[in-house]
């Protein structure tokens, strides 16, 4: 690749520029209100379920949608909204003058142009001669390992190939900011990893906003994640910090983690009455917040545990039923084993099954632990208050059958302290 760099020396010298996206915008009709900053050279992943407002965010930045109020600025230039210099004027920079490239879920290659001319479209639009534009296009095709596809028509490409070309085309227009909208969502799972690796390489030190609902994309590509829900940002921060230590239900769902909230006590967390252990759960790992904030006893705490580390039993003394889910070697009926687990500090939480969802070779048992509703449902423990907390366990189908689980069933959820991580919830 290096010898070809000579054609675009400016890029080789300054692969990234001091670009900062500063957005604070609202779209009333879509119930959207977001403030977002992106530093130069940073890749930010915007995570959220469908309808969270991720595409609205991209459209606002790309210039395909006008904010009702607020502003969009890129590298100090106002793209939409009012400027400080002239607050009376309402600025609107059309998409083609923004220096913002958008790569959608579908690559949307122009079907009437060859692959090479698709990639050359951006440089050509910027006023380059046909020859120069194609030379630049070849560099980018090589960058995405697709030079051999140059003369092909988009209709003859596979999904993965087309998305590579889409990446090359977006980058060839030399954008100040690159927007990726679910770049892998339409791809075969088999080709996504290679494309992800390629993207990580070419996006290095570029300013990128990538919208996704897949945490793997965020882990692979993003320095920072922003979690959206219902048109607002609910959580943001460094990728690993946010996704491994979620502080909202929405983030926990995206990261496929159980999130339990409570108060820090010595060696664990208190969830209030009704959950078992006098509402106390134990975590072996205590993670302090990335900011190094204090996490004293009595502070608001959150605990994350994977559903696959949680097991389900119908009686507290038989909590070793978990063994059938995780350790096939263990004897599920051994009460001795159960006692051993209890003495080792296995967390056992009373709960009620809410629903069962088959997920491949396991069944996700969603339940509610703690809370007065649960207690009345069990009819045994009194004095508990507050709403229950959601907890999910992935168990083998045979466990569901053996325990005769169905919505409404009273159960015990249990997990090892070592499987849980506790951290400040604020």
């Amino acid at each position: 690749m290096t010898p070809h760099r000579a054609v675009t020396p400016d890029r080789a010298v300054t692969p990234d520029r001091a670009v900062t996206l500063d957005l604070a915008a609202a779209v009333t009709a879509r119930n959207f209100s977001v403030e977002l900053n992106v530093a130069a050279g940073e890749t930010v992943a915007v995570l959220g379920p469908n309808g969270a407002g991720k595409s609205t965010l991209l459209n606002l930045v790309a210039g395909l949608l006008r904010p009702d109020t607020g502003h969009v600025q890129l590298a100090g230039r106002t793209l939409a909204g009012r400027t400080l210099a002239d607050p009376a004027a309402h600025v609107w920079v059309p998409p083609h003058e923004r220096g913002v490239s958008l790569l959608a879920q579908q690559p949307l290659l122009f079907p009437h142009l060859s692959v090479l001319d698709n990639v050359a479209f951006g440089p050509r639009s910027a006023g380059k001669s046909s020859r120069d534009a194609r030379a630049i296009a070849r560099i980018w095709l090589e960058e995405v390992d697709a030079l051999e596809l140059a003369e092909r028509r988009p209709a003859s490409l596979s999904g993965g190939q087309a998305q590579r070309i889409g990446v090359a085309r977006a980058l060839a227009s030399d954008p100040q900011l690159l927007l990726l909208d679910e770049p892998f969502a339409a791809l075969d799972v088999a080709v996504a990893p290679a494309l992800r690796r390629m993207l990580r390489r070419v996006l290095e030190s570029r300013t990128v906003v990538v919208v996704t609902h897949d945490v793997l994309d965020a882990f692979t590509l993003a320095d920072r994640v922003v979690v959206m829900h219902d048109g607002a940002i609910v959580e943001q921060g460094p990728t690993r910090e946010v996704l491994l230590h979620p502080r909202t239900r929405f983030t926990a769902e995206l990261a496929a983690l159980n999130l339990l909230m409570g108060t820090r006590v010595d060696g664990g967390m208190s969830m209030g009455g009704g959950t078992g252990f006098e509402g106390r759960v134990i975590a072996a790992a205590v993670a302090h917040s990335a900011a190094g904030a204090a996490f004293p006893i009595g502070a608001a705490a959150a605990m994350a545990v994977r559903p696959s580390a949680v097991s389900v039993s119908v009686a507290e003394h038989a909590s070793a039923e978990r063994a059938s889910a995780e350790h096939a070697s263990a004897d599920p009926t051994s009460t001795e084993q159960a006692s051993a687990d209890r003495s080792a500090g296995l967390n056992v939480l009373r709960g009620i099954v809410h629903d069962l969802e088959p997920r491949g070779d396991v069944v996700r048992v969603r339940g509610v632990v703690g809370g007065s509703g649960v207690v009345s449902g069990l009819g045994a423990l009194g004095g508990a208050e507050g709403a229950g907390q959601a907890l999910a366990a992935d168990v083998l189908p045979s466990v569901v059958v053996d325990l005769d689980l169905s919505p409404g069933a009273a159960v015990f959820f249990s997990f090892e302290p070592g499987a849980a991580t506790m951290y400040p919830s604020a």
Binding site: A62, G63, L64, P94, P95, H96, E97, R98, G99, V100, S101, L102, A104, Q106, L108, F110, P111, H112, L113, F121, G122, S125, A126, R169, A170, S173, P175, L179
Partner: protein, 285 residues
């Protein structure tokens, strides 16, 4: 195959016969030994030549005027858009002779624009220009309808991508939008051409019937019917063949390039082509 009630097939056969039988009847009346001489007579050749020339020019006019109209209707929103669409499509349902009268009172000697043009020394009515105007008037909706539908089907996603790649609106239009709807543009132009070729009522009303100047093939056929039925039948067959070729090409384009529109327009064009309406009273023949 999902079974259809038997009677549907029977009624459909009647419908198909209804279209095919008249054509067959006409072909049986063709005077084959004299066919060559009939279609190459001086007046026939003049009429065919005039028809082809004027139809080509009016098709070009339809493209020039119709593309911006279709873009405006498909890609923008403004007050009165629905009214504009209805008005643009009006010539589709308007009796051509009414269109001819409307054109006469626009471009005629005492018409809205005609009197001004007369001062400038330009006389349009009863000239070859009038033929082109009449044909464009009736054929324009075919192109607009076909293109607007295609523009809506294609959507704006490719255009949005092109804009974010830095393409100015004109670049987007010329390099993305129009190439994407090219099949519909071609088939729309072909339908307009077919409609222009078959135009009778508006032409006769507005342009008259002067051999070599305004007497197009349909007018020639209508005149010959009185004096030389064999020539009328022979020329009719020529028009049928041209229509078949045009419809076939247009269909081929839409199928090959994946445009699903054209079917409804085609049936409309055939209805119009077969509708050889009567000349208005007091025609300068």
């Amino acid at each position: 195959m999902l079974g259809l009630p038997r009677w549907v097939g029977i009624v459909a056969s009647v419908g198909a016969l209804f279209i095919v039988l008249p054509l067959v009847a006409m072909i049986t009346r063709v005077n084959w030994p004299e066919f060559g001489a009939l279609v190459t007579s001086e007046s026939s050749v003049a009429a065919l030549g005039l028809s082809l020339r004027t139809s080509v020019v009016s098709t070009a006019l339809c493209v020039v005027l119709g593309v911006p109209l279709a873009l405006l209707l498909a890609r923008t929103q403004f007050a009165g858009q629905k009214v504009l669409r209805a008005l643009v499509l009006l010539p589709l349902v308007l009796p051509p002779v009414v269109g001819g009268i409307a054109l006469l009172y626009t471009f005629g000697r005492r018409g809205l624009l005609g009197s001004t043009l007369e001062v400038l020394g330009i006389q349009i009515a009863f000239s070859t220009t009038a033929v082109v105007i009449a044909q464009t008037f009736v054929a324009l909706p075919f192109l607009v309808l076909s293109l607007e539908g295609a523009l809506r089907t294609v959507g704006t996603r490719y255009e949005a991508v092109a804009a974010t790649l830095g393409a100015k609106p004109t670049t987007v239009l010329l390099r993305v939008t129009l190439p994407l709807v090219l099949p519909a543009l071609i088939s729309g132009a072909m339908l307009s051409f077919a409609r222009a070729l078959g135009e009778f009522g508006a032409t006769l009303t507005f342009a008259g019937s002067l051999q070599g100047v305004t007497r197009t093939l349909p007018l020639e056929i209508y005149l010959q019917r009185e004096t030389d039925p064999d020539a009328a039948v022979a020329l009719s067959l020529v028009l049928v063949l041209v229509a078949v070729v045009v419809v076939g090409l247009s269909r081929g384009v839409s199928e090959r390039r994946g445009s699903e529109r054209g079917g409804s327009e085609r049936s409309l064009s055939e209805r119009r082509l077969s509708e050889r309406d009567q000349p208005a009273r007091g025609m300068p023949l």
